[in-house]
Amino acid sequence: MDLIALANCLVSPSCLVTQTTSGLIIGLLLFLVAAGLTLIFGVLNVVNFAHGSFYMMGAYFAYTVYVFTGSYALAIVGAALGVAVFSIVFERFFMSRVYGGNVLMQLLVCYAFILILDDVVKIVWGPEFKSMGMPDYFRRPPVFIAGGVIPVFYLFLMGMTALIGAGLWLIIGYTRFGKVVRAAAVNPQMVSALGINTGLVFASVFALGGLLAGLAGALAVPVRSLVSGMGFSILIESFIVTVIGGMGSIVGAFVGAILVGMVRSYGSIGFPLFVEGLMFLLMAIILVIKPSGLFGKEA
């Protein structure tokens, strides 16, 4: 524990800017993953424990496209679409077979995919850490605010997530698909009663969730190193985020993600060894006070 370092940071504007920015970046990436997780839970009542692996695949897809084409824009699009397609396959051929049954069976199928995908990554890309490096157009002098450093890529990342968030809001709020998604979150029976093709809706929800995870992976590649198993810690964190925010609530996922990002960022100064513990403590406290999460509907 290093509370003095934490206190010093809290009174230093430059440290505040730097830590808040990095917390924001962590939070925004988490939001993209958690939004998919919470969406899938809201509509299908299924916890997709393999969601972290979707993120990992997004990162590796983006890395590969970038290496071959040199275009980061293509890499982002490729990762998002690639993971979305994979999610549909995952949902249609595997998860859909264990709906409605034992939660443990769903857990096992996801667990199997975590193991398999981690090994596939090792076989295809090798077991060592990979790093894509910063694309050329982001290699510019960072922005300074109150003495705090903000890399240009961070600004891009914030802009992108804002854009994606807005898109998500439009889809959920104003499309027919969004209407079905919102209805399903309130009353799952109603959707099938309305004669909607639930298989199509479920696959679309998984595709959207996968798309978001793929985007998160692609956006993370320039600032994170890639390794088999990288999906797990983000799974655990987005899991904490969804529980804190309320399973099924996208607004909750956003608030939870920013909260967890800040805990991570500032916690790493004050409690370097206990950052994870801190997050789980936060989760446990919120579960005790309001089991359905900050923005979840009452169970």
């Binding site: 595997f94 443990l104 857990l107 596939v120 076989i123 446990a284 579960l287 359905s292």
Partner: protein, 348 residues
């Protein structure tokens, strides 16, 4: 038999079972005694170190998995964090042995007491939540304990694990530093743990758990204190998981953070699912199967995850039930044709 028309006749050809109260304690003790004797005999006939090690490891896992099934299978409480007690037991026992130099039985008693206290506190909070939220909060507490173990370096050795070995002083002429004694100790611990858990599962309390699992609301309208019963179940399961941890700590002469990581809980769940949650012995079978699988896969291929993942998929999507569930179905079916004699054994 003609097809029944009115539904009042339906009982005539539906599965039924003989009166309960057949699974007596004496019978269980005899089975356990025979099993222990057979395993000791096996070791005498075939003193292979590989088999000895394998059996000790399986004993630790089987105690752990059976305790988890007390929650999942009998009480319907799907804990994602049961590994916390396995890890806590291992660390608690290891630390007591290292720092207090007490006899092993005393250290085990201290471990049981400490785990019960931990389970009481954690349980009092977790039990308030139901269904998937119970699963989440147990996972949160497990990771909290995992984080504490990793962070509290001076006490636990951090991510390196508890270093320096666990002393194994002789007691009552038993020297657990010798493989044979440790082997016998592990299977006796397994047999005793299973006996006690079996007794609890077949007690009035055990049937209360089944009632709560089947219908919590209706159970509470029988005047059952659902909270208290669930809390006791959580504590009992936690205590036995810690005994699994003790056996493991004695075997590896140390304790590692992985013991209380999510993977431990995940493996526990996989064991009970593979072995079957509807029979008492299922988790033990699952512990054997998963350990065998791990050993074989590790020996045959470096792509451990890929192979294990495919096996899990085949199991989850193909079989959908544990091996002892199939055995129980078969047993029940053949029992029914002989007048439903053995059917009572199969289902918790």
């Amino acid at each position: 038999m003609s097809k029944p028309t009115a539904h009042t006749n339906r009982a005539a050809d539906t599965p039924s079972r003989p009166p309960i109260g057949r699974a007596s304690l004496q019978r269980d003790i005899i089975i356990a005694g025979v099993a222990v004797a057979a395993l000791i005999l096996l070791r005498v006939i075939w003193p292979s170190p590989a088999i000895t090690d394998f059996t000790i490891r399986v004993a630790a896992y089987a105690i752990f998995a059976t305790s988890l099934n007390l929650l999942v299978g009998y009480a319907g409480m799907v804990s994602f964090g049961h590994g916390m007690f396995f890890g806590f037991g291992a660390y608690c026992f290891g630390l007591v042995m290292q720092r207090l130099a007490l006899p092993i039985p005393i250290a085990i008693l201290i471990t049981i007491t400490a785990t019960a206290a931990l389970a009481l506190v954690v349980g009092a909070i977790c039990i308030r939540l139901k269904d998937i939220y119970f699963s989440f909060i147990t996972l949160a507490f497990q990771m909290l304990i995992y984080s504490l173990i990793v962070a509290w370096v001076p006490l636990t050795g951090g991510d390196q694990g508890l270093q320096g070995g666990i002393p194994r002083p002789s007691f009552l002429g038993i020297n657990l530093a010798t493989p044979l004694h440790l082997y016998i100790f592990a299977i006796v611990m397994l047999a005793l743990s299973l006996l006690v858990m079996r007794h609890i599962a077949e007690s009035s309390f055990g049937y209360t758990l089944r009632m709560i699992r089947d219908n919590m609301e209706r159970a509470s309208f029988l005047g059952i204190n659902v909270y208290l019963v669930r809390l006791i179940a959580f504590m009992v399961a936690g205590v036995f998981a810690s005994l699994g941890g003790v056996v493991m700590a004695l075997f590896v002469s140390g304790a590692y953070p992985e013991f209380s990581n999510w993977t431990m809980s995940g493996e526990g769940i996989f064991m009970i699912m593979m072995g079957g949650i509807s029979t008492f012995i299922g988790p033990t079978a699952g512990a054997i199967i998963l350990s065998l699988l791990n050993d074989v896969v590790t020996r045959r291929t470096e792509h451990h995850g890929l192979a294990l993942g495919i096996v899990i998929l085949v199991f989850a999507l193909g079989l959908k039930k544990g091996v002892t569930d199939f055995a129980a179905d078969w047993w029940r079916a053949s029992g029914d044709s002989k007048g439903g004699k053995q059917a009572a054994e199969a289902r918790p």
